[in-house]
Symmetry: none
Subunit: 422 residues, 2 copies
C-alpha cells in the first residue's frame, strides 16, 4: 500500500529537533510491507496541513501523521484530518476515561479536555505513556493514522496498538540484509553488480556510499517471512561471489563490532599506537561493550619524545626517515608489541593536515603498520609478522584523513584476523 | 522567500539514515531569513521527483534539494531538475577539471563522468570534499539549488559556496553569534534569559540544547552588516552578565578549540590518561590543527595491568578502592604527570556500561581527575595541584557516558586554564 509519513510541527521546520519519528516509522512500515513513498513536514497551520493531506492522497492510500494532537492551541491535526476525511469530532468515552485516569493524582487544566474528542468514525489507539490518544480514520478507501509527536509516546503507541492494527491490513512481508564493505568505491561496486541490480525485481539491490564504506541492501517482499528470507540469502551469496573480498559484514554491523567479536571469540588481545589519529582508533574500538577483555591499551604518541619514550622508536630512525615514514610506523608497532605482548599491535603515523606537508611528504601521507602474532593470523607457531601500508590521500581535510586512517587500521586488523594477509 | 527542503533518496524512505541534512539546512536557511515552509522526501524516481518539484512551486519560490547528484544510475536529481526548469545538461569545463583533479591518483570509472554535466544555465557550486558539484538553476522566478547528499559534502558546500550565494539574494543582512556554554541545563538557561527572549524582536535570542552543552543564538536582521553586528554584540554582553560563568565561547567554537588556543598561547602542554573513554578525549583534542605543539601524549589504559605499567597506579589502590575510584583517578593523573611532566595531566575512569555495574558502583559512575602545574593555573610557583570530581549518571548508554566523560575532562581543563579552580 502506497504510504506517506506526514510530520506536523513548526519546530521541525526551524531545525530545532531531529525528526527521529520518521526514521522509526519508515523502518517499521517497510518491514510490515507498506511502501513508504514520501515524507512530508508541515508547520502547525490548518490551511497548509489540509492542502497537504489532499495532495498526498492523489498518490497514496495511507498517511501516517505524528504531532499536533496535544492540548494546546497550536495542536490542530485532529480537526484538520476530520475536515479532510469528512467527519466531525465527538466526545469519546474511552478517551475521557483514560484522560481522567491520567490526572487522578494531579490537577487537569481545562485545555486538556480537548484530548477526549475524536472523529466520530475513528478507531482509537490508547496512549499508554501520555494523554493524547491516537486514531485511524478512513474515508472512501483512504486512511489517515494519527499519532502524538513525542517519540516515546509515539513508539509505544505504535508497538502496542498501531502495529497490530497495520499487520491485519497486510498480505506480504519484507525481509532485507545490509552487506557492508570497506576499501571499495561506490562507482566500482555498482559496475561490479550492475547486471544483478538491473535484472532484479525481487530481491532488489541498492548501493549506498557511507563515510565508513559502501553498503548494498538486498530486500525481498514475499507472502511469508521465510520466502523473503530465502530469496535474500540466495542473492547475498551471489553478491559475496562478486565482491566478497571487500565485505566485512552481511548483518549491517560496524567494522569495530566485527573485529571485537573475532578478538573475543579467539581470545586475542589488541593494542594501538596512534600518532595522527591520537586515540581515534582506540576510542572507536571501545565503542563495543565488553571489549575490555581484548583491548589492552592505546597510546597516542603525538610527539617524537613520546614515540621514543613509550614505544622505543630509535632517535636515528626519526632523524633519518622522519616521524611520518614506513620505518617509524613499523618501529612503533614493534615497540608496542614488546611492551604489551598483544596479539595485534597496530600503529599509524601521518600528516593529517591542513598544514604541515612538504613536497616530499604532503598532507594526506599516511602509514599504517601492524606487528601481529601467528595466533592472530590463525597460524600455528609462536612467531610474529609485521606489515606496513602507505596511503597518499588527495585531501587536506584533517578530520577525513584521521577517520580514513582509523578505518584503514580497522581494515588491516580485520584482514589479519581473517588470515588474508600474506 | 517561501522555501522548501527536498531530500532525494530511497534510503531515507527506508529509514536507513537519519536526515540530518534537513535539520542543518532548516537552521541555516531560517537564520538567513528564508521561510522554510515544508520538508519533503522522495525516492530515487524521476516521475515522482518531477511531480513533487512542480507541486512545491505552487506555494514556494525556492527549493533546496540534497541527494541524487552522484555517479550511479539512481542519481537522477540533475536530470529531473533540468526537465522541471526547462534546461538541458551540458558538459561543464570547471566540473570536469575538478573531477579529473580528484581522480589524479586513482582510477576513475566511466560512470563518474556523469558528474561533469550540469544544466546549461546553472551556477555551479564546487564540491570541495567530493566529486559531485552542486548548482543553482532559475526559471521564471522559481529557483532550485541542488547539493549532494553526504552530510560532509553538503555542509562544506553550503558554507563555502551556497550561503554566500543566498546572502546576496536577501535585501537585509543577518548577523549572529552563538554563545556556547558547558555544564548548564537548557531549562535553567531559558529561565535566566526569559525576559530577554520574550521582549526582543531584534536581536532575537534562541536557546538550543546540544550534546556538547546548551547554546544561545543571538541574531539580528538589519539593513547593514554593521548595524546588525552592533546590535548582536550589545545583546551578547547582556547574556554574559547573566550566565557568563558557564560560557566558554561567544564565537561558536568547540571547547577543544578554546582549550587548544589557550594552551598554545600560554606555551603549556597537556597529556591524558583515559580508561572508560579509551582515547576519546585525546582524539577529540587532536581535532584541532596545530595541537601537536601542546599535546604531549594520550594513554588509553583500559586494563588494570596498563594502569600499573603505564601510570604507576599502585596495585594496592586498585585492590582496595577499585579501578573506578577517586583514588585511582588521582594516581593515574599523578603517574602521568611524573612520566610526561605536562602542565595539565587529566585522567578518567568510569563504568560506561551497558553492563559492569554493581550496587556500590553502578553504571554511570565516573571520576575525572587532574594533576596540574601552577603555571597552568596562571599562578607563580613551581608546585602542582590535584583535583578529582565524581559524577553519577543515570544512564547505561555507553556512548553517552563516554561522551559525557570527555566533555567533563574538557570542562576541567578549561577551568584550570581560566584559573577558576581553587
Amino acid at each position: 500500500m502506497k504510504t506517506a509519513i506526514l510530520s506536523v510541527g513548526t519546530e521541525i521546520l526551524f531545525g530545532q529537533i531531529v525528526n527521529t519519528n520518521t526514521v522509526y516509522l519508515s523502518q517499521q512500515l517497510n518491514m510490515l510491507g507498506f511502501d513508504v513513498m514520501y515524507h512530508y513536514t508541515v508547520g502547525d497551520n490548518t490551511t497548509r496541513l489540509k492542502e497537504m493531506i489532499d495532495y498526498i492522497f492523489h498518490d497514496c492510500d495511507l498517511i501516517i501523521t505524528t504531532g499536533g494532537l496535544g492540548p494546546t492551541q497550536d495542536d490542530l491535526t485532529k480537526e484538520t484530518v476530520c475536515e479532510a476525511l469528512n467527519d466531525k469530532l465527538v466526545e469519546n468515552a474511552d478517551a475521557m476515561d483514560n484522560l481522567k485516569a491520567h490526572f487522578q493524582h494531579s490537577v487537569m487544566t481545562e485545555n486538556n479536555l480537548k484530548q477526549a474528542y475524536l472523529p466520530s468514525r475513528a478507531t482509537m489507539f490508547r496512549n499508554d505513556t501520555g494523554t493524547a490518544p491516537g486514531f485511524a480514520l478512513e474515508d472512501n478507501g483512504k486512511m489517515v493514522i494519527c499519532m502524538p509527536g513525542p517519540p516515546k509516546e509515539m513508539t509505544k503507541m505504535f508497538e502496542n496498538h498501531v502495529r497490530p492494527f497495520l499487520e491485519k491490513m497486510q498480505d506480504s512481508v519484507i525481509f532485507y540484509k545490509t552487506v557492508r564493505t570497506i576499501g571499495y568505491e561506490e562507482s566500482r561496486m555498482e559496475t561490479e553488480l550492475l547486471d544483478l541490480i538491473d535484472s532484479q525485481t525481487d530481491p532488489t539491490l541498492a548501493t549506498y556510499a557511507k563515510d565508513t564504506g559502501c553498503t548494498v541492501r538486498v530486500a525481498s517482499k514475499r507472502k511469508t517471512a521465510e520466502e523473503a528470507e530465502t530469496a535474500v540469502n540466495e542473492m547475498v551469496e551471489k553478491v559475496l561471489d562478486r565482491i566478497g573480498e571487500y565485505v566485512y559484514s552481511t548483518e549491517d554491523e560496524d567494522i569495530e563490532q566485527v573485529i571485537a567479536k573475532k578478538l573475543l571469540e579467539k581470545g586475542l588481545t589488541i593494542s594501538a599506537a596512534e600518532s595522527c589519529t591520537a586515540g581515534l582508533f582506540s576510542s572507536t574500538l571501545a565503542n563495543v561493550p565488553g571489549i575490555s577483555a581484548a583491548f589492552n591499551r592505546g597510546i597516542a604518541t603525538y610527539s617524537n619524545e613520546a614515540k621514543i619514550d613509550e614505544l622505543g622508536v630509535k632517535p636515528e630512525t626519526l632523524e633519518k626517515y622522519g616521524a611520518v615514514s614506513a620505518e617509524t610506523a613499523l618501529e612503533m608497532a614493534k615497540g608496542l608489541a614488546e611492551k604489551t605482548g598483544s596479539d595485534i599491535c597496530l600503529s599509524v603515523t601521518g600528516i593529517a593536515g591542513p598544514d604541515g606537508g612538504t613536497p616530499q611528504k604532503p598532507v594526506g601521507l599516511i602509514y599504517v603498520a601492524a606487528n601481529y602474532s601467528d595466533k592472530a593470523a590463525g597460524k600455528n607457531g609462536s612467531g610474529r609478522s609485521e606489515t606496513v601500508i602507505e596511503y597518499r590521500r588527495n585531501t587536506a581535510n584533517r578530520d577525513w584523513n584521521r577517520r580514513f586512517s582509523t578505518l584503514r587500521m580497522m581494515e588491516l586488523a580485520n584482514k589479519i584476523l581473517d588470515g588474508k594477509l600474506e
